[in-house]
């Protein structure tokens, strides 16, 4: 085998071409990874949102909280059911929640549907790592028209900063008294207010969107679910939270499809670019190839050497592109969930999907970009190659 060192040296000698190719393929890997980083971020957010002991109670037939509506009389019975976990103050962990999705202006003047969630005091305990962030004010007090806002939203929407007034309709407005975070879960795309306040503001007395319940144990989880679904006084849907969020993650299908199309088309483009560089490498080393063959290296050796060089070259690009995505993790993106039309914030996440995409792209462009140039090198006649200037 021809040592890989030989290829490393060659890439270094032709450093201008190497650098240009690395930047070119790197930019291609980078742009393909962006959407997958968002897919990854979205899935992570939905994964942490679902607790295995939690149920989301909605009207039968609804697939999303935003479409659901339950009469308050029914909903209020759910916290009283046996099998509901209790917190250290003895309160049942079952929260009635009411959703409103008004149109609110983003800071850049564009408009989006923002989830304003009317919550019960225990709602925060049903969310992972819910906390008011450091120097982020306090929890709202009921009846005062106050709200708390996810830290992801404070810099994105007009009036969402701590201390300012969030205006969500002609007469509906809330003073932002706190900024919260919740372990990257779905709650981080929401504004929270007191449920009663919201009820009055949107004239929805007597109705709630959903009830979030945590079961005391796995057995209670099953029995609660059965009770809520089958008992004649309820006849509601009790969907395991894990399943609910798994369903919601289908909305990332657009990002996945778009990401895949981008990755495939760009990989083909990058293959051509890599092939170009490798053809030039073969052409400029014709005599060397002849010499190597004359020294006794086989056709396979030459083939593997050039393929290896191509993969090496593309790996440099792949790594550069992948590293260039790291700064993106610091940024939160906002877009709409096109199932519910509600704004979701996504944190770019560098994880296994992104790495897999970059790896597959690198291998594809390295192998297919190197194949034909390497074959040209192999087919060269030794004697002619040696005579080449």
């Amino acid at each position: 085998m021809i040592p890989l060192k030989y290829n490393v040296r060659n890439l270094r000698v032709r450093w201008v071409n190497t650098l240009l190719t690395v930047i070119g393929t790197g930019a291609i890997v980078w742009s393909s990874c962006i959407l997958f980083g968002l897919v990854e971020g979205l899935q992570h957010s939905l994964n942490v949102s679902g607790d295995p002991l939690d149920l989301i109670v909605m009207r039968k037939g609804s697939t999303s909280e935003t479409n659901s509506g339950i009469e308050l009389t029914k909903a209020e019975k759910i916290p009283t059911l046996s099998g509901v976990m209790r917190d250290d103050k003895g309160r049942p962990l079952a929260a009635l929640e009411l959703l409103n999705i008004p149109i609110v202006e983003r800071l850049d003047g564009s408009r989006a549907n923002l989830i304003v969630r009317g919550v019960d005091p225990v709602s925060s305990e049903l969310r992972p790592n819910f906390q008011i962030v450091k120097d982020g004010g306090r929890m709202f007090e009921p009846g005062k028209g106050e709200c708390i806002v996810s830290k992801n939203l404070t810099k994105r929407f007009k009036g969402a900063a701590l201390g300012s007034e969030l205006k969500v309709g002609e007469r509906e407005k809330y003073r932002v008294v706190g900024v919260f975070s919740s372990g990257g879960s779905a709650a981080e795309s929401e504004v929270w207010v007191d449920r009663k306040d919201l009820e009055q503001n949107i004239a929805r007395e007597g109705i709630t969107s959903s009830v979030q319940v945590r079961a005391a144990s796995q057995a209670d989880f099953e029995s609660l679910r059965k009770t809520i679904e089958n008992d004649t006084q309820f006849k509601l849907a009790a969907i395991p939270e894990v399943q609910y969020f798994a369903e919601q993650s289908k909305s990332s299908i657009f990002l996945k499809v778009a990401g895949t199309v981008i990755a495939i088309l760009l990989t083909i483009g990058a293959m051509f670019a890599a092939a170009n560089t490798m053809y030039a490498a073969v052409r400029s080393r014709t005599r060397e190839i002849g010499t190597l063959r004359a020294l006794g290296f086989s056709r396979t050796d030459v083939l593997m050497s050039f393929m290896g060089e191509s993969v090496l070259l593309c790996s440099l690009g792949g790594i550069a592109g992948l590293l260039a995505t790291l700064p993106l993790s610091a940024i939160t993106y906002g877009t709409s969930n096109f199932n519910t039309f509600a704004e979701i914030t996504i944190q770019f996440r560098f994880g296994p999907i992104v790495m897999l995409v970059a790896f597959l792209m690198t291998v594809a462009m390295g192998v297919f970009g190197g194949l034909f140039p390497a074959m040209r090198a192999v087919r060269m006649d030794v004697v002619t190659a040696l005579r080449e200037v």
């Binding site: 240009l20 962006i34 037939g61 697939t63 479409n67 149109i103 969500v168 483009g269 170009n276 877009t335």
Partner: protein, 389 residues
């Protein structure tokens, strides 16, 4: 230009290299066209709505909030209004499709006078208006789901606690910029059914949004203000805007995705500059002596630079035309929206976007050529000639 054939010959000197550069440019620009069109289609569709003199009245809290049915009649009697219709999103599931087509409860006797750009046979308009359980669907929807007049369309309620079984009475067709995959049915029918199953539902008597067709364009501004002023002190204030502005709302909801898609497009251009620049640099390295000969013969620096940049532009321009204009025609023939399960109601590459792509390829050619060109122009003639002797 008398040098053109020399430039073309140079570009064809290493056909594999030029083809690979062209291939790279084509693939990357085709992708860029898809991404940019995704954004610009929405804009151009919104703009195309300008001519129809229609307004959309929604709740001041956004289109997910109800507008009382009474508004439909009240607005219809206002001066300058030609007609009004409800437009209420049903959001039903069809045959377990994950992303079904959109269904709207409308004023069946009015809808096709308001949407006068749609072509429907007059007898079908009549049949649709007369059958309370009838529906009218778009041509593309009919073609793709193999539906025809007389077929029944079962819809499973999601946002509504009821199922509807509709019979197709009309199939509408219309311009390419209009959604030809909608399903219209009688709003009255939906409301009556809802009254039966949920007499207290907040969705009852909800018009959704109100479509208002104005008699002429100059009434639109007055009506927009007039309608909102009328209801500003009511329980349900309205927000009225042109149909164009209403449509832009959906584009705006993409939020940061817009910027991200533009960034990907820029990264692709950036990458191509390096890919094409590398190819050009490699081509010139192999041609060092020739450039020296040209300069010895009296070709000035400026001319040498011009020749090389023109060659670079020529190559990327071919790729640009194939990629940009090619994808324009490709997507005119192949309707991508068919494969997005309703996510995109339409997809085509607007001319402005295709030309932008061609422009980008010119820029890529220029930037990829300029540095190798300057390098070649600065090479000393004596050194360039010595390479051979």
């Amino acid at each position: 230009m008398k040098f053109l054939h020399y430039i073309i010959r140079n570009a064809l000197r290493s056909p594999v290299r030029s083809l690979l550069t062209i291939g790279s440019t084509t693939m990357c620009l085709a992708l860029m066209m898809m991404l940019l069109s995704f954004l610009s289609v929405n804009d151009s569709v919104a703009t195309s709505l300008r001519t129809y003199n229609r307004l959309i009245v929604m709740s001041s809290q956004g289109f997910t909030q109800p507008v009382p049915y009474a508004r439909v009649g009240e607005i219809a009697s206002m001066k300058g209004v030609k007609g009004t219709s409800t437009f209420s999103w049903f959001g039903g599931k069809y045959n377990e499709e994950p992303m079904p087509f959109a269904q709207f409860g409308v004023s069946a006797d009015k809808i096709f006078t308001l949407y006068d750009e749609f072509n429907v046979p007059p007898d079908q308009v009549k049949a649709f208006a007369e059958d309370k359980t009838g529906c009218a669907i778009g041509r593309k929807l009919a073609e793709e789901r193999k539906l025809k007049v007389g077929d029944s369309v079962p819809l499973k309620g999601d946002a509504y606690p009821l199922d509807l079984t509709l019979t197709i009475r009309a199939i509408y067709d219309g311009p390419a910029t209009r959604d030809l995959r909608m399903c219209f049915f009688h709003w009255d029918y939906l409301n009556e059914e809802l009254k039966k199953v949920a007499p207290n539902s907040k969705m009852l008597d909800n018009a959704g949004v109100v479509i208002v067709k104005c008699e002429s364009a100059d009434q639109m501004a007055t009506l927009t203000k007039g309608i909102d002023n009328q209801y500003v002190n009511s329980d349900t204030p309205t927000r009225t805007q042109s149909e164009e502005a209403f449509n832009r709302l959906f584009t705006e909801m993409f939020g940061d995705l817009r910027g991200m898609i533009q960034n990907i497009g820029l990264a692709v251009v950036f990458s191509l500059i390096f890919v094409a620049g590398n190819a050009m640099a490699m081509a010139l390295r192999e041609r060092t002596t020739e450039v020296a000969v040209l300069k010895a013969m009296g070709f000035g620096r400026g001319l040498v630079i011009n020749l090389i940049i023109t060659e670079a532009i020529l190559v990327t321009l071919v790729g640009g035309i194939l990629g940009a204009i090619g994808s324009k025609f490709f997507f005119d023939l192949v309707d991508l929206s068919k494969y997005t399960a309703g996510f995109l109601p339409f997809f085509f590459v607007p001319w402005s976007t295709a030309l932008l792509g061609v422009g980008a390829s010119l820029l890529i050619g220029f930037l990829s050529g300029i540095f190798p060109a300057i390098r070649a122009a600065q090479l000393s003639v004596v050194n360039g000639l010595r390479k051979v002797v």
